[in-house]
């Protein structure tokens, strides 16, 4: 498909806790990054970052993915994240320029804290300036966002949300986009997701990247910059954009 303009350039995707933080079809995001890298003529490589000491390959990761899990799974990774992954993750992002995509539970854990309904606070690792508190009603349904990332075409992002957390952005974080349809971060300020430096957090799944190939390529492109890579080849995204457009159309009808 894509021309191998970059030739023999590796793209390494690091999946944080693939066996535990994998709810809501998170695998779709991983498959999309790997397949598109291949179609762009890159050499895709997946590093699975399970519980325990971080493997040395963690330093090679270009794009980290951090998905959501159920309560039990989330509790199981909570200490491990702090003990083994936080430091190499911070190093990779701040010094190596690696990208991070975090969805739902992963998004919350990268923030300052998560506060439960009874006021108990669970500290996140504070890599993005957001805080989350439990909400009563679960937000479930289609979401359409007009993104704030100015290089993206189309400017819309589509997905599905299913969360009860209410996330609020601090001054360091920019929203990923403005809501056209759905509840987004907190159901009150019209924002969805957060972008801070190399980190993108969001509640969108569905999965997110398969129906938003432009966001997938944006992440791949930014990750490659640190390798001195040029522009990505142009892929045939008609299937992906048809699925994207189908959600847009349905959202408009409602």
């Amino acid at each position: 498909m894509g021309a191998a303009i970059l030739g023999n350039v590796k793209l390494t995707v690091g999946w944080l806790y693939p066996d535990l933080m994998n709810i809501y079809g998170d695998r779709g995001n991983i498959l999309t990054l790997l397949k598109r890298a291949e179609w762009h003529g890159l050499e895709p490589n997946l590093v699975e970052l399970g519980r325990g000491p971080a493997p040395s390959e963690m330093d090679d990761v270009d794009i980290f993915f951090f998905g959501g899990g159920q309560d039990r799974e989330q509790a199981l990774i909570y200490d491990d994240l702090r003990e083994f992954k936080q430091e190499p993750l911070q190093r990779a992002v701040e010094q190596n320029g690696a990208q991070v995509l975090a969805v739902c539970g992963g998004y919350q854990l990268l923030g300052h804290y998560y506060q439960t309904a009874d006021g108990q606070k669970f500290d996140g690792i504070g890599m993005i300036d957001v805080t989350t508190q439990a909400g009563k009603k679960r937000f479930i349904g289609d979401v359409v966002v007009r993104t704030e990332i100015d290089t993206l075409t189309p400017t819309s992002l589509v997905g599905f949300e299913n969360h009860s957390g209410r996330t609020f952005l601090g001054s360091q974080a920019m929203p990923l986009g403005k809501l056209m349809v759905g509840h987004g971060n907190n159901g009150s300020d019209g924002t969805e997701g957060a972008v801070q430096g190399n980190i993108t957090g969001t509640y969108l799944h569905g999965s997110l990247l398969p129906k938003n190939p432009h966001l997938a390529d944006y992440l791949i492109g930014r990750a490659l910059k640190r390798r001195g890579g040029g522009a990505l080849s142009h892929l045939d995204d008609s299937a992906e954009l048809a699925a994207h457009g189908w959600i847009l159309q349905r959202a408009q009808r409602r």
């Binding site: 066996d19 809501y24 079809g25 695998r27 509790a75 599905f160 299913n162 569905g206």
Partner: protein, 455 residues
């Protein structure tokens, strides 16, 4: 008592009305109406049963297992009340009981066999007080509707713990979530499980979602994987393992969607139902029937002539083409039906149908956990269909599967399938619940299939 009779009559009138207006199967409206008039109606009606009730739950296999249990009881001369496939909420069970109640408000039957969805099980146990409760499996399913698996498992455990000693639960030992529930009960349940390494795989599929030890949180070690996360597992720290099944299925033989054979404690079962996942359903029904006192020899004999329920391996013939309809509604289920179709039946032509209505689950992200990669290079024709056909097309593209243009119109999907399927060949329709209803509705319109309320 007057209140019960009034509730029954009101419910029955609603039932007649909804049949006349052809709302079709799975309607729970009579149950809704009767429960408003008398909230205890289900308890009162099931108390009329001469023998009692059996409640069956689990993410996958409820309908088939309930059918199997009813089939066995009916063959032994019992009159059975059962709810329809899809009407597995408490209202559906109530509607079924109402339907068989006489004008005096009495339910005249021997047994109630109710399939109940996982989230409704605690309430069903409380209201029905079943003689046997079967928990088949707990897989990830329809996250938007049920919330999280964890809290459901805990509620099921609490409900089972309230049952009297005679109502021994029948539980799948091979499912770590179900085992966790059963091991916490005050009295040991009747465990069943598969025991045949020749049909097991060694690795967990991507859809597996119960991988950790409930005691210490370590990742479980699987010595055998049968379906989804169901298999033979143990914790590396030795504090949790698959309970030893009292009833085991051995010497399993599978022939596509056509038949299966297995041996349980020396009794050979051979029957016209296919797929490894159905071995679990057959074993669960066998265990239940045994616990109710039916003889193994009778069970084996009766199962030979079993017919599958609507949309569960139903066959439709059209001008020499054989269409096989198989409901596939979540990752664990889909992986098994795709595996059975491709590996065991050598299937080449497919419609994959995905809807996102309430009964299907409105969140379709789970399709990314299905290993559609199994179709790559092996299927000749794959048609993405249903309301979310476009999402399926993307999924198939990233699985490396060559697929046709997405078809949101069921008629067009069928036309494309027939056009590209030779006479005498088989084609498989693997669909979520309402996607199956849509396709089947089209088959009925064309006169290829009977309306389901007549089957």
């Amino acid at each position: 008592m007057i209140r019960k009779t009034a509730a029954v009559l009101a419910g029955k009138a609603t039932g007649t009305l909804s049949r006349i207006t052809r709302r079709g199967g799975g309607t729970t409206l009579p149950g809704d109406v009767a429960r408003v008039i008398d909230p205890k109606i289900l308890t009162l009606l099931t108390q009329d049963l001469t023998h009692g009730s059996i409640v069956i739950t689990g993410t996958n296999g409820k309908t088939t297992t309930a059918r199997l249990v009813s089939w066995l009881l009916e063959g032994a001369g019992h009159k059975v009340v059962a709810n329809r496939a899809g009407a597995n909420l408490i209202f559906g069970a109530t509607a079924a009981a109402l339907n068989k109640a006489g004008p005096d408000g009495r339910l005249r039957a021997d047994w109630g066999v109710f399939e109940i969805d996982e989230a409704s099980l605690p309430r069903a146990i409380d209201e029905i007080q079943p003689r046997a409760t079967v928990v088949l499996n707990l897989f990830r399913d329809q996250l938007d509707r049920y919330g999280e698996l964890e809290s459901i498992a805990r509620k099921i455990e609490q409900a089972l713990a309230t049952l009297p000693e005679v109502a021994r639960p029948v539980l799948n030992a091979d499912d770590p979530r179900v085992a966790e529930i059963g091991l916490s009960l005050p009295r040991p349940p009747l465990w069943y499980g598969l025991d045949d390494p020749s049909v097991a795989s060694k690795t967990l599929p991507h859809a597996a979602d119960a991988r950790t030890c409930p005691r210490c949180g370590a990742s479980l070690i699987f010595d055998a994987v049968y379906v989804g996360h169901d298999g033979v597992y143990r914790c590396p720290n030795n504090d949790f393992a698959r309970p030893e099944p009292e009833l085991k299925a051995t010497d399993i033989k599978l022939d596509g969607f056509d038949s299966l054979a297995l041996t349980i404690k020396g009794t050979r079962i051979e029957m016209p139902l296919g797929g490894l996942y159905n071995c679990y359903n057959v074993l669960a029904a066998y265990a239940t029937a045994c616990s109710l006192g039916l003889e193994p020899g009778y069970i084996a004999e009766r199962l030979r002539t079993f017919k599958a329920a609507f949309g569960r391996q139903e066959r439709v013939e059209f001008r020499g083409r054989h269409l096989v309809l198989v409901l596939s509604k979540n990752p664990a289920g889909f992986n098994e039906t795709v595996r059975t179709a491709v590996d065991l039946a050598g299937g080449k032509n497919f419609i994959i149908g995905l809807n996102d209505r309430k009964a299907d689950g409105t969140d379709v992200s789970w399709i990314w956990d299905v290993d559609f990669e199994q179709l790559k290079g092996r299927a000749d024709l794959v048609i993405p269909a249903g309301v979310r056909a476009y999402d399926l097309a993307v999924r198939l593209k990233y699985a490396g599967v060559k697929a046709e243009e997405p078809q949101t119109d069921p008629g067009k999907a069928l036309d494309l399938l027939i056009k590209n399927t030779n006479e005498g060949d088989l084609a498989y329709l693997l669909c979520t619940y309402t996607a199956m209803l849509d396709l089947r509705g089209e088959l009925v319109r064309r006169g290829w299939a009977q309306p389901y309320w007549e089957t």
